[in-house]
């Protein structure tokens, strides 16, 4: 899910379609489309059918997805939280302490 959200955040204004996301993220369609449906249901993205003439464009109209304004904010917050959770704990420096000694 994070990968898909990240892909939308990379270019928020650019509409994306299913196969494009599948190819760029390496996710199967059976996984991607339910994710897109879920994000659409949550209001993070909105899908709309392309308004083209198939005979002119030479292909059938696709269903494109765009990040919504609310989705943009929520997605950034959620990804930031997720990266905080996944950040490895800071290594504790072990410094030798010299105490006492020979005189």
């Amino acid at each position: 899910m994070a990968l898909v959200v990240r892909a939308f955040l990379d270019e928020p204004s650019k509409p994306k379609y299913g196969f494009e996301l599948m190819e760029s993220l390496g996710i199967s369609s059976g996984t991607l489309y339910p994710m897109l449906a879920k994000l659409e249901r949550l209001g993070w993205i909105e899908g709309h059918r392309e308004d083209i003439d198939p005979s002119v464009a030479g292909r059938p109209p696709r269903r494109n997805y765009c990040l919504t304004g609310e989705g943009l904010v929520l997605a950034r917050n959620e990804l930031a939280e997720l990266s905080d959770q996944l950040r490895p704990p800071q290594a504790v420096r072990i410094r030798p302490v010299i105490s006492g000694g020979f005189s």
Binding site: G18, F19, M22, G30, Y33, A37, R49, P60, R63
Partner: protein, 188 residues
């Protein structure tokens, strides 16, 4: 070179050309069948989705994507296209139930739980709440049932009319002898 050997060479060349053409035709035919198989697999996805999502998910999203994969994106690499298309369709079969679960929650409210498609006389397809009731076979209807559309000779009609709801939505109101039932899921 004797004339008979010349004829034999020419006949051989002709056979080669004919063989090549026949092979091309056969491979095109087989390619068409295999491409059709991908769409058949995708129809399984359609069957697994609720009727209300058939148009939005299958007809407007998955089928155009598959068509694009097979005939445009990999038009010059039919084997790759077939592999990708088949994988696309099969993977969707696996994820169809999940897709239905995730999509159904976003359907507008009120949303009839089940219904049937009818073809209006102007050619539009609409989804009407409830089961098909043959006993309302009044010929004053604006709609022809889907099944009746295929078998018009039997003259089964669904009675109703189009109206605009207060929220601006155009719905097909199915007339009932006691009350009116509304609920068009989708009108094309």
């Amino acid at each position: 070179m004797s004339p008979s050997s010349l004829i034999a060479v020419l006949a051989g060349l002709l056979l080669l050309v004919l063989g090549k053409v026949c092979l091309d035709l056969a491979s095109k035919q087989v390619q068409g069948w295999l491409f059709d198989l991908c769409f058949v697999v995708l129809r399984v996805v359609k069957r697994r989705l609720p009727t209300a999502l058939h148009v939005a998910r299958h007809d407007e999203e998955l089928a155009p994507e598959l068509k694009w994969i097979l005939f445009d994106r990999y038009a010059n690499e039919p084997v790759v296209g077939l592999y990708k298309g088949f994988r696309f369709a099969l993977s969707n079969v696996r994820g169809a139930k999940k897709l239905a679960r995730e999509s159904v929650k976003q359907l507008p409210d009120p949303w009839p739980k089940w219904g049937h498609w009818v073809i209006l006389r102007d050619g539009r397809r609409v989804y009407i709440e409830g089961r098909r009731r043959w006993w309302f076979g009044h010929r004053v209807s604006a709609a022809v049932s889907l099944r009746a559309g295929r078998r018009r000779a039997r003259g089964r009609y669904v009675r109703g009319h189009w109206t605009t709801r207060p929220d601006g939505r155009r719905v097909y109101v199915r007339s009932h002898w006691r009350r009116e039932r509304t609920g068009v899921m989708r009108a094309e």
